[in-house]
Subunit: 280 residues, 2 copies
């Protein structure tokens, strides 16, 4: 059977989109469509141009026997700005303010479109780094970690605050919860993360930073290198954080329980993307 | 600027793939490419043929003013079989057996490719039902719920076993853990799930069924209708489950801690898909 270019383009586009950050050998398409490598390469060039012109991602082709094509999701700054603005609009609702000045965000973490978009944004920030795993803390960080890991095509390691029998042998560290000042424990299954991994840490909310500091200590136990820390929302005023280098989508400040009000501003993620694209 | 059909096809394909179960108005493409509706419809027809011939999904077009195109992910039986077989190969490793006869699965839940594929498989089973939300129990079910919700394009509601301040007001039920016979509590934030929702319940492991039974009771508190229950792995021997109707990808039996052995077989999900496609 003979395939038209139009049919090949549709198939190859959906194939690449569904396999981000994964080397796809050209021979796979050559055999599937029994076409000359030259015309498959021409198909790829068309896909590459559209993906790059429309800020969908980069399409990297590597020559030679083991050669092939890799799709790297990478959105442009307009799209990133759009995502942050939409997120801000959703977060900016009075009734999110809970007793104790906490923000209700479970609906956002449970929104697959929002998580997917934010996953693309965080992947755009860190996609050029060498990353072996995305690490997060149960429970709310998991949906974000999944969205990012899906785009980076790396596994997720979930740190728990309880030690479950289904985790096998674990490594644990104690940490001081920045907000409650209580001593708490976090554990990670030994099998979940390989020694000497390079990890990206993501979480939903950054307050005093106690739990992220705990994660960083736990990563030391695994001899893991933390290549980045990215959070959806950070509380602005907080000063004495034990780590400086992180990105956030939004900043929340002036939380006033009495008047049920708080201020939402952009975090530093858009600057981070701009600076990166200037370097490229 | 004028776009070639090839460029339109690449763009429209990635757009539809990234927005499953979502009505995309044709006018969006008509305006973006400033093309006659007729040629956009012709583009859609090409995409539809490839998607349906290659078992990627159905492309549904609705006519009229509010008309448009919707991509429904739906894999074919060969692809489904491939996914179940791969999952079986991964699960079938001696060293997964933990003290107490539990199976270590966190690496599988943290594998984004595996979760994405299984998400497509479960969506293929239940995608024709009317579903408002995917419900699961923290912690391990969350990755699966995200993968399914992403394909169904509905929110995820995560039931927790602890009551967190960040959840706002919650509804809770007690249940008897089938395996430990202990009385436990599960809670769901009132805001996370709308009253009278139609929900699909997913979880990683089904033992005696105590926690799924708890979920079903909790859903009653929300006047929610459970349209289906789907689990990755079920323990085979268990008899007296309080609910009959569910699908599983794999069945585990003859768990022998002493000899570090257990038996893995296919669950009923492939039959379920075959029966469904016969009905269609």
């Amino acid at each position: 059977m003979k395939y038209k270019r139009s049919e090949r383009l549709v198939y190859m586009t959906q194939y690449l989109i569904s396999k981000p950050n994964q080397l796809v050998p050209l021979t796979l398409f050559v055999e599937r469509f029994n076409q000359a490598k030259s015309s498959i390469s021409e198909d790829i060039r068309i896909i590459k141009d559209v993906f790059e012109n429309d800020g969908i991602g980069n399409v990297q082709t590597t020559a030679g026997a083991g050669g092939g094509v890799t799709f790297h999701p990478k959105i442009n700054i307009d799209r990133a700005d759009e995502i942050v603005e939409r997120f801000m609009g959703v977060l900016n609702a009075q009734d999110r303010l809970l007793p104790g000045g906490y923000l209700y965000m479970s609906d956002i973490m449970g929104d697959p479109v929002m998580m997917n978009d934010i996953g693309e944004l965080i992947t755009t920030m860190y996609g050029d780094e060498e990353i072996d795993a995305v690490v997060t803390v149960a429970t709310k960080g998991i949906s974000l970690a999944n969205a990012v890991a899906r785009k980076l095509n790396v596994p997720v390691a979930v740190i728990r605050k309880d030690n479950k029998v289904t985790e096998g042998s674990t490594v644990s560290v104690n940490y001081v919860s920045g907000s409650t000042r209580k001593i708490e424990t976090m554990v990670l299954s030994k099998r979940t993360l390989k020694e000497n991994s390079k990890v990206l840490v993501v979480d939903d909310f950054l307050r005093a930073g106690g739990s992220i500091t705990g994660v960083i200590h736990l990563m030391e136990e695994f001899n893991a290198a933390v290549v980045g820390v990215s959070v959806l929302v950070e509380a602005k005023q907080v000063e004495n954080r034990r780590f400086k280098d992180y990105t956030s989508l939004l900043k929340v400040s002036e939380i006033d329980e009495y008047n049920q009000s708080f201020l939402v501003e952009q975090g530093n993620c858009l600057e981070y993307i701009k600076n990166k694209s200037n370097k490229d």
